[in-house]
Each structure stands twice: as C-alpha cells, then as structure tokens.
Amino acid sequence: MPAGLLSGIRVLDLGSGISGPWCAKILADYGAEVIKVETPGCGDSTRRMGPFAGDDPDPEKSLTFLYLNTNKKGVTLDPSSATGRKLLNRLLADADVLVENLPPAQSKAMGLDYESLAKVNPQLVVTSITPFGQTGPYRDFEATDIVTYALSGLMYHSGDSDKEPLRNVLDQSFYVAGANAAAATQVALFARLTSGEGQHVDVSAAACLGAHLVQPVPYYNYMGAVKGRRPVRGAGFEELMPARDGYVAPSVQGSQPWATVASLIGLEELQDEKFATGAGRIAHGEELKELLIKGLAQWDRRPLFIASGERRLVFGMAQDAGDLANCPHLQAREFFVDVDHPVVGQAQYPGMAVRLPGETITASEPAPLLGQHNAEVYGQELGYSSKDLVSLRTHGVI
C-alpha cells in the first residue's frame, strides 16, 4: 500500500525514460493514482535499457523500468491517432496532473503542449521535464544525462582535480529533475486549491542541478574564485581513503576534538599535538595522510563507521549495492519493499526516502506489463466494450 497523502489525485504519466517516470513514481508513492500511458508496441524507452533481470533483454525485465514504475497502472495508446487522442482526452478530463518529458518541439507537434491540453481540462497541471526547459537557446538541443550534467555547471565539481570531470553512470540529472518536478507539480496543485486553475510547470533538468551551486556561485561572484574538483593534496579527511576491505571517508567535522578522531583510528603517532588544529593538519598534510593510510589499513569499513558514530564522529564508508541490500539499518527502518512481478518474480526494491509515521508501507504494486490495465481503464472506467477494445488493438491505437 502506498501512503495516503495524495489519495484522490490522478496523474497521467506520459513520461518515458527516467525524469518523467521518476516524478510520477514519487507522486504514486505518496498515494496518487498514476496511470502510465505508453506507446503501443515499444512502450517506455527504459524497457529497452539495461540492465535486465537475468541479463535477458526482454521489455518486461528492464530493471530501471521495473524500479521507476511501481504503484502505477499501465495503458497503451497512440496520441497521434484520432481515436488514441479521443481516449487520451477522456482520461484527461478526470486527471489532475499530466507529466511528460518530450522535447518541446515534439510535444507541440503531437498536440501535447500545455495550450492544447488546457483546452481539454483547464484544471489540469501539466508538468514538462526537459534537459533545458521550454524556453531559451538550448531548448531544442539534443541532450543525454552527461550533456545535461555538463551544462548544469555541476559536473565540473565531480571527480578528481587531476583528471577529467566524472559522471555517475546512473543518470543522476534525471533523478534530480524528477524529484524537483514532483515537488513543483504539488506546488501547482496547492495553488489550484485557491485559484481553481491548472497551469504549466516547466522543469529544466540542468537548472535543477544548477540550483545545487549555492557554494560555487558565491565563490565566484564574491571573490572571483573558481571552485574545482576534489583536491589530490591534503590530509585525506573528508575524502575517500583505503581501509582493509574497501574505502572509507574519515572526517574531522562535527563537534568532537581531534583527540577523539586520533584515538578512534588508534595510531599512537596521530595523537601528536601538531595535528590538533585545522592549520596544523594543513601544514603537516602529507605526513598526516601517510599516518592515516597506515591507521585505516587496520580497519574494516563497517566497524570503523559504527565506532565513529558511537563517538559522535561523522565518518562515512563506501558501500556498494550488495552492502545496501544487506544493511541492518535499512532493514530495521523497513526501507525495502516487497514487489512481486508476474514476469521477473519477487524482489526487495528500494522504498521511499522518507518514513511517514502512521503510514505503513511494506509492499508495492509491481510495474505494469505493457498495456496491462487497458481493459480495466478503457473498459470499466471509460465504458468501452470488449469488442471496442479488440477494434482499438487491431487498429494499433492501444
């Protein structure tokens, strides 16, 4: 069961890929009824994107698709056909939100631009998520995650300063955009409570990332400094450093004195007074880094992390997907949800970022098979007969 915060809100997810579906999934997890609308035949582009369950490239086994589309119903329709458009308009009449992430020129060409949609339902909130937004000189640019990340200004800060900037392979731009879009969509729904009107929410993925520049921007416009990537010099604190079974992020931040840090790592030489101040740690950076490497080599990641937390220090540890799946803390928080999918079977999926006391969420509906809910939505809700449905399918509308 999803949470009940948005019950009564109906969302049409015309998104494909990551940003739109992630936005709609967040709304679904808060309890909105989300109907995912896919193109007949091929469906959402993530159905063709790896990795796949069992490495079998089957459109029902794409892990990104399976993850991003839980708690949604799935229908197919072709909005560029007259009958498909009629179906879409029927769905629009009862919808509160439409989420789409087509390039601006394409949404206009398909009659999915805000003006056309608002004619059908003036109360509708239309959320459009694109790499650069609906306006400006880059609006029609071709962009993927890496290009969006680059042009946001954030990528310059990712990676090591002696190498090229580095991206995360899991398309982070579009997750940040989707999360922003989910928030902004709800702001528009909130505004509608007073105005009674829908509106267009124009989300630029690059600008969502650009908003993260709260430090680099004043560095430049206050003092002309260009912030870069992780320094290769320095004592190694606040950076990833090798431990016995992987990497950890030792930290001197927080309220505890140096002596606490030194005694945790447990190397006698670290107790030297010359390391006790920030200035001292900078001045003796190279020597300190060597000692730190020596001390951390005695530790495994998790025991060090827990010992740090118990001493009110804020060390981190580099975890991989397996570590997360087996994390006792995430299990105690009931973070993972059980999802049972008719094709790939049962698995534990990441749940919600927040816990909502009073709302119990332990399982999710699996992502829909392509067109799985056509009969339910078009038949039961819109009143099409089973004969009509056959005709729609024959003509490639659904």
């Binding site: 790896g50 290009v147 260009v226």
Partner: protein
C-alpha cells in the same frame, strides 16, 4: 496578477547548514513566511553564518556574520529570530510559535530535539495539524539513528560511489572497470534531501488541506541517496552485480565521454547514441575515414576500441573551445555540451535566457554588493516564484515575531536582551580566519581565481 502559491503558509525553520535551510529558502521563494531560528551565541550559530563563507573578496568585514555568500543563497527571503534553545524561555517561545506556524523544518540528530522538549509529539500537542520535516543522516529509528552525518561522508555511504569511478589502465593500455569509488561532490546528498523535503511536505500540505491532518516526515538522507540508484540495487537483487565504474563511458553507447578543449581545465561532454549520431559525428569532425573504419563499425566495435577512438576525438576537440564543439555537434544533432565552470555558468546564454540567476539587492551597510543568487529549476505559467530578498540580518525579525505574532511584553523582551536570548550581534568569538586565495589554489581548494572577476560578472550582478 500571479500569486505566490504558499503566501498563507508560515514556516518555522530550526534547521542549519545546507539541506533544510535550502528547502526553507525555496519555500520563501514560493511566498511562505519563513522564520529562521538564529542565535546570538557564536558557537551555536548556523555554521554557514560563521565559518563557511565565502566572504566579499575573501575578507570578512565588520558584520562578518551577515556576509557569508553560501549563507545568503540558503537563507534568502527569510526572517530571523534569535533564541537560545538551551533556555526554557526559548523553548516556550518555540512552542508558542508552533501554534501559529504550519510547517517546522529541523535537522538536529534525534537526541537533540528530545532534549529540548521539541520533538514532534511535544510540538503536536501545541498544534495538532502540524507538518514537521526532521532531516537526519539516518532517520529517527534503527541502530544508526543517533549517528551524526554530513554530506561529504554520507555520499559514499549511500552507495552512489559504486556507480561512479574512473576506469583503470591495464598493462596493454586497455582500460578496465575501476575499483575506486568517487563522489559527485559539492554536497550532493544535501540537495537530494532538499528536493525530497519539498516534495514530501507539499504532499503533507495537500493532505492537510483535504483532511485537516498533520504529518511528521522522518527524512533520512541515507535512504534518499539510495533511492536514486534503484537500478543498481535491483541489479544486485537480480544479477548479483554490486557496482559499475566505467568512468564517463556509457554501458551501451559509444563514443561517450569527456574530451579536453582549448583553455585551462576546459572539457566537453559528447554522447553518440546511435548510428545516425555516429555518421553525423564523423561528418562533423571531418573524419569520414573513421566512419568506414571496421574498428568503429557499430557500437560494440566502438566500445571495444574506444581508447583509439577517444584519441582521435580528443585531437579534434583540443583545437577548439568547448562552446565551439557544442555548436558544431548540436548543429548536426549530436548531443554535446561544455562542462561549465561556475564562472561560465554565470554568463551562459541558456541560464541568462531563463533568468536563472536572480538579482538580489543587499543593504549597503552589510557590505555586500548586488549579487546573482541561484534560482530554481522550475517555472510556473501562472504562479509567482521568485527570490524575495537577501538573507535576514541576525535578529532582524525579533520584534516582528515576538511582539506582533506572539504579543510578548516589553519587560520580558528586556530580560531576553539581557540574557543574550535576543539581539543583533554575536556573543563570543570573532570573524573567522580565511586562507588567501593564492594558497587555496596550492592546496587544491579552488581551481583558480580571477582578480578581475567584477568585470566578468553578468550585468544582473553588477553594482547598481
């Protein structure tokens, strides 16, 4: 007339540092009245008021606690109320204030709010339909709940580093999957929490409007970071794979990566998605021979020979600026874009056309010039969203909040002043020291600095 969507919402912002203050700033942009709880006790102040900086020309001025650039971005448009949360008087004021607020934001470790008697249950007793976001590293339950956290150490903990890392070079010159995790950096985890806080509290506000119920939102940054790598978590669940560190390469597309351009530390990102992109790319870089080279015939071949291909591409990009590469390739329909430095972002035509950096006029006495502040990634066709003004000066809203909102009498106000509960200047400590910019370059804290930066800022950020 466009209206600000949250104009009737009042927010009590007890939060510090980055994530939740920025959520509060976004709420202020949307028209909410956001009251930031500040303090005169320097050692307990929000660290963005004290040590984070940056300060104008790297020189903290007489009013240094009003000048931090990051503090300004994160607290724009708020009111400031000074209190001393350790005192019972201040705790009582918070409870009185909660009765007239809709939303509380806080990010103390769980034990702290309980110690102040300001945990959700206690506050809900004052206001039954309260919506409160408690943002912590690990959440309010589970074995790690009382562990402190900061984004730079939390980012690897929540697993994003498993999907980010440079490739390593083998003895034959071939690159292979790397083992060393890396970071998005720039406090990435904080901002994930910002967006999650905004989304969840808007959902709670929508429900409150419908049913009258409040909601406590127990936001764990650790979980937030794990939700954005769901594909990776499922790849472990179904296929047993734990990580993928392939530099800037793409699992399928090729070529895909970052290439050097003219200038110091200038780069362009290029993504060739399919055969159409590939042919257009070969044509644009004026290398028709590579289009027919069997080593690069299809994406599988190109991935196998990407080292050779990357060298050819780098030769072409190195003779051009990153913007020139973008113009050529975008002209041919191939995804490409410069990796903008912040300096470049401030004057980039797309950000300029969207008005992304919003001009904020600072009062002359604070010693800050008119500045461009980062805006938001979304625009509304009908609702108003805009930065309302600079961050508040310390205790700027004391009179407004205590007298107008709560009706506190003059005698009590005087007592508060004497006990340093309310005031406009810090008690204890002094201006933080700063490291000269030349030295910061040597230490690697900044890439470079531009002494003539005032002449290179966009027009919106110039002195008026």
């Amino acid at each position: 007339m466009p209206q600000a969507p949250l104009k009737n919402i009042r927010v009590l912002d007890l939060s510090r540092v980055f994530a939740m203050p920025f959520a509060g700033a976004n709420l202020a942009d949307l028209g909410a009245e956001v009251i930031k709880v500040d303090t005169c006790q320097t050692q307990f102040m929000d660290t963005t008021r004290t040590i984070t900086g940056p300060f104008p020309d790297n020189q903290p001025g007489e009013l240094w606690w009003e000048q931090g650039g990051t503090f300004q971005m994160l607290n724009r448009g708020k009111r400031s109320l000074t209190l001393d949360l350790r005192s019972e008087d201040s705790q009582a004021i918070i409870k009185d204030l909660v009765r007239v607020c809709d939303v509380v934001l806080e990010n103390f470790t769980p034990r702290v709010m309980a110690r102040f008697g300001l945990d959700y249950e206690s506050l809900r007793a004052e206001k039954p339909d309260l919506i409160m976001v408690s943002n912590t590293g690990y959440g309010h339950s589970g074995p790690w709940s009382n562990f402190g956290a900061m984004a730079s150490a939390l980012e690897p903990t929540h697993g994003t580093g498993a999907f980010m890392g440079y490739m390593e070079e083998g003895p034959d010159g071939r690159m292979f999957e790397g083992q060393v995790p890396n970071k998005m950096g720039n406090s990435y985890s904080d901002f994930l929490a910002t967006w999650t806080a905004l989304g969840s509290l808007m959902a709670a506000l929508l429900r409150r409007a419908r049913t009258g119920e409040g909601q406590w939102i127990d936001l764990a940054m650790y979980q937030t970071g794990t939700t954005v790598i769901g594909t990776g978590v499922l790849d472990f669940a179904f296929n047993g794979r734990r990580s993928l560190r392939i530099g800037n390469r793409h699992p399928v597309w090729s070529p895909h990566g970052v290439y050097p351009c003219q200038g110091n530390d200038q780069w362009v990102a290029i993504a060739v998605r399919d055969q159409d992109d590939w042919l257009a790319f070969c044509h644009t870089i004026d290398a028709p021979n590579i289009a027919s080279d069997p080593r690069f015939a299809d994406p599988i071949d190109r991935r196998q020979n990407q080292e050779v291909l990357d060298d050819i591409i780098a030769t072409w990009t190195s003779a051009r600026t990153s913007y020139q590469v973008m113009e050529s390739l975008q002209g041919a329909g191939v995804p490409a874009g410069p990796i903008l430095t912040c300096k470049q972002a401030l004057t980039d035509p797309q950000y300029a056309a969207r008005g992304f950096f919003e001009t904020v006029h600072n009062p002359a006495e604070v010693g800050l010039r008119t500045k461009g502040y980062v805006g938001r990634g979304w625009k509304f066709s009908k609702s108003e969203a805009a930065i309302k003004g600079p961050a508040p000066q310390l205790g700027e809203g004391n009179d407004y909040v205590l007298k107008e909102l709560l009706g506190v009498d003059q005698a009590r106000l005087k007592a508060f002043e004497e006990e340093w509960i309310i005031g406009h200047t810090p008690e204890g400590g002094g201006a933080p020291g700063t490291v000269p910019l030349e030295e910061q370059v040597v230490l690697g804290w900044i890439a470079e600095y531009d002494a003539g930066y005032l002449d290179h800022l966009p027009p919106t950020s110039e002195d008026r």
